[in-house]
Amino acid sequence: MTDATLPSPAPKPVSAATPEARAERLRAGLKRRYAREKRFKLYGLLAIGVAVGFLLLLLGRIIEQGHTAFYAHSVTVPVYMDPARVDRGYPQGTNFELLVAEQQLARFGVVDDAQGTKAGAMRSLFSSELKFVAAERIQRQPGLIGQTLPIAAPLSDDADLYYKGQISRAVPADQRRLSDQQLDWLDQMKASGQVTSHFNTALFTNGDSTEPELAGVLGAVVGSALMLMVTALIAIPLGVGAAVYLEEFAPKGRITDLIEVNINNLAAVPSIIYGLLGLTLFINWMHLPRASPIVGGLVLALMALPTIIIATRSSLKAVPPSIREAALAMGASKTQTVFQHTLPLAMPGVMTGSIISMAHALGETAPLLLIGMVSFIPGIPHSLGEPTGALPSLVYIWENASERAFHERTAAAIMVLLTFMIIMNAAAITLRRRFERRW
């Protein structure tokens, strides 16, 4: 398109006769043109400012929403293990939460009504974890029944949110999840030193849970790791192999061109289509277990394959032909040349491309939803065949959860996800900086 130069302007009739007037008009025009130039440049800066500003806003909002999830409040209450209530043979059957709530009410000097509504209100401030902590204690040492023990357990999600300042007294009582009375109790508990704030280890050591104060990302992290392992083991060898064939061995012709077009298209197919493929191929036809890391890994591998092929091909292309010619001249066969000279030299580029595509696979969500990772899956997976969650699908599930305490945890899960992605990208960049060779 070399003919697309300035449209040749029609010579304008020069009306002003004097050279001064012409110069004056030119100067005025120049001023206008420079102003236009400045504006244009400003638009460009503005566009970049929008992109960068948005990134900052995004990260800032996520940190703002998520940082509170990293600490949590626990309560340590002295519990009188009432022999009349605690069953020695079956401590799990005891309603410890109610027991604690009633004793707590007595401590605050509150008299309950006949229906026990106040004990119920008090009880809802504790996490259900309290019951398991107390039951385990008694099960281990049944002799403790009849004594008063300090029991430490997390507070319920709403109580935790109140201490974090996310439930305010200023809001009318019918619009918040805690009544005035419950807030008073929480204040009293805090004042009496029963409440401690600490690092939220549950977030990193637990699997998913329906109760926000017990929900953690570990199950999803392990699930994502298993999935990425499958993806890497399948996609990287296949992708590198395909790229080596197409770049070094394939006869240049129509079929190779067709394969190339095909690979470029595969790289641009919407990810949800891969989810449909995975659902039909791996689950309905091959009967692999739903929501398992093996299916997730296979789907992500198919998605990552074209990216890895493209990256590998371009780094093979960058190896100068002189290397190949030298090897061939020394009597190496074509295969030996590729595997002993060309591919090792292209390896930094291959690894960088592979890591970046793995990072993309880690953040991919839509196909995982279709293969069943949208359902609630508690616990931590141990094998490739059992249902599991993944970090991005956990973000989606928690975002849809109705409990408000899941909001901050969603942001925290995003921070965990982004941390992993940043680590992977940093590794790729370091690799590139370290081993990149310019020929």
Partner: protein, 480 residues
């Protein structure tokens, strides 16, 4: 069991390698002076390894492919009368539950009288069939490995062209790798076509493409041909199109202008800072954008429009004010705007490449004529780069159409035929997720319609991609 078997296979392959190498060495030593073998001992070893491992792997792969249909027909053949007479969908569900019981999982549904009694017995039977098939596959694999090893060890001699044969195998393996890429496309098309044809058997294509009413929630069974009005996908196409337009309205100018600034104005240091930032923006998972859209942008936009509505209400534009006061979080504008931001780095990096491909001589010519930088960009660079840039825009559109998470989290589920950006709309991708993530029977028209949507989505994005890549490639060749 499976792991142990694979371990055994690896040990056998290693043994074959070592054995082949040793044998070749001994034969080489026994050769008369002055003669040399064709290939190195290690290449003989590799040849032996290939002939041991590959037959076993081929048999295993064949077993994996053919055992499923074989298992199906065996289970069906031996099933009791009552189960055989179930309709196919119910029968599949029955056997799925039999498998569940055999694996120690609870059954998915409660079965009525004749089937409930059969279930435990059937579960034992299907488990034994599966076990037998698995063992048979492994035995066949071991046999294949032994036969392969016998063959190859009978052939190792100094004159064997082991290197060429090994290389032939390697090239074959590499070809197989690139065949996977082709097979993926075939698989996508086969999977989409298989389930879509079943869907289109109950809902005519024309009703699907041009119908204006979408409500798959009313459970319509595949055999009820009468009530097909609920699968008109036009509102979904309209919603997808609307959100794509909004996204492009954000991404196209911002992306293009940042590319222009980066390639024409920015110094190397500015580029070194900004380019990685754009890469980070491109690397943020879409689910994160979705979270941001749903919990930050949505409420902010809603508050903004409600405020304007409150301000307008009672004035001359009272109707508009009343409408704006009722705007909800989930609107097309939110999803579209956030998606546009997501596409900025994509548009920007593609356009950057394309602008850089314009030869410097064009710029120099323009500067020599006295044009300013912006005049050069507007009158020389952009016209020259127009095909490339439009290709980039088409690629961005295809991504906007196929994007799922942002719309799933921020756009809503109401299928409305509207072009109002403040309304809640739904898209093709949202409906696919919605249709396939509930707990429902797989073979209903409702779930199958997701594949009809998927096929449409695939074809549209494929068309956009092919055209765009053609344009970009043609454009690149022009300046090569």
């Amino acid at each position: 069991m499976t792991w142990f078997f694979f371990l055994l296979l690896i040990v056998a392959a290693t043994a074959a390698y070592l054995g082949g190498r040793g044998l070749a060495r001994r034969r080489e030593k026994a050769m008369p002076r002055g003669q040399s073998p064709h290939s190195r001992p290690g290449q003989h070893g590799a040849y032996a390894l290939i002939w041991t491992a590959v037959p076993a792997l081929v048999v295993l792969a064949a077993a994996a492919v053919f055992s499923a249909p074989l298992e199906r027909s065996l289970t069906l053949a031996g099933a009791p009368e009552a189960v055989q007479q179930l309709e196919p969908f119910r029968r599949d569900a029955f056997f799925a539950d039999a498998h569940n019981l055999a694996a120690g999982r609870p059954a998915m549904q409660i079965w009525p009288a004749p089937y409930a009694e059969e279930l435990p017995r059937e579960s034992r039977r299907v488990a034994s069939i599966a076990q037998t098939l698995k063992l048979a596959g492994m035995a066949a694999a071991i046999l294949a490995a032994i036969l392969g090893a016998l063959y190859v060890f009978s052939r190792i001699r100094p004159a064997l062209r082991a290197r060429n044969r090994v290389e032939g195998w390697i090239i074959g393996a590499l070809m197989a790798c690139s065949a996977v890429a082709v097979l993926t496309t075939v698989g996508i098309i086969a999977a989409l076509l298989y389930d879509s044809t079943r869907f289109f058997a109950s809902v005519p294509v024309v009703d699907f493409l041009f119908g204006t009413h979408w409500s798959p929630q009313t459970a319509i069974r595949a055999d009820q041909v009468g009530s097909t009005g609920a699968f008109g996908a036009l509102p979904l196409f309209a919603g997808t199109f609307l959100i794509m337009l909004i996204a492009m309205a954000v991404a196209a100018p911002v992306g293009l202008f940042s590319a222009i600034y980066l390639s024409e104005y920015a110094g190397p240091r500015f580029r070194a800072v900004v380019k990685p930032i754009l890469e980070v923006l491109a690397g943020v998972p879409t689910v994160v954008y979705g979270f941001f859209a749903a919990l930050t942008v949505g409420p902010a936009f809603r508050a903004f429009f409600n405020q304007i509505g409150a301000w307008l209400a009672g004035g001359p534009l009272d109707g508009l004010g009343q409408y704006l006061m009722l705007v909800q979080n989930q609107m097309a504008l939110v999803a579209g705007a956030v998606m546009g931001i997501m596409l900025i780095p994509f548009v920007s990096s593609l356009s950057d490449d394309i602008l850089n491909a314009v030869p410097q001589s064009l710029r120099d010519g323009s500067y020599a004529m006295g044009a300013t930088k912006s005049e050069t960009v507007k009158r020389v660079l952009l016209p020259a780069a127009l095909p490339g840039v439009s290709g980039a825009m088409l690629l961005a559109m295809s991504r906007a159409i196929g994007e799922t998470m942002i719309v799933a989290m921020a756009a809503g589920l109401a299928a409305k035929l509207t072009l109002n950006p403040l309304d809640t709309v739904t898209t093709v991708t949202v409906q696919i997720v919605n249709l396939l993530t509930g707990d429902q029977e797989f073979n209903s028209a409702k779930t199958l319609s997701a594949f009809g949507l998927g096929l449409t989505l695939f074809l549209v994005t494929l068309m956009l991609n092919v055209v765009a890549q053609r344009i970009v490639q043609k454009y690149r060749q022009q300046y090569d």
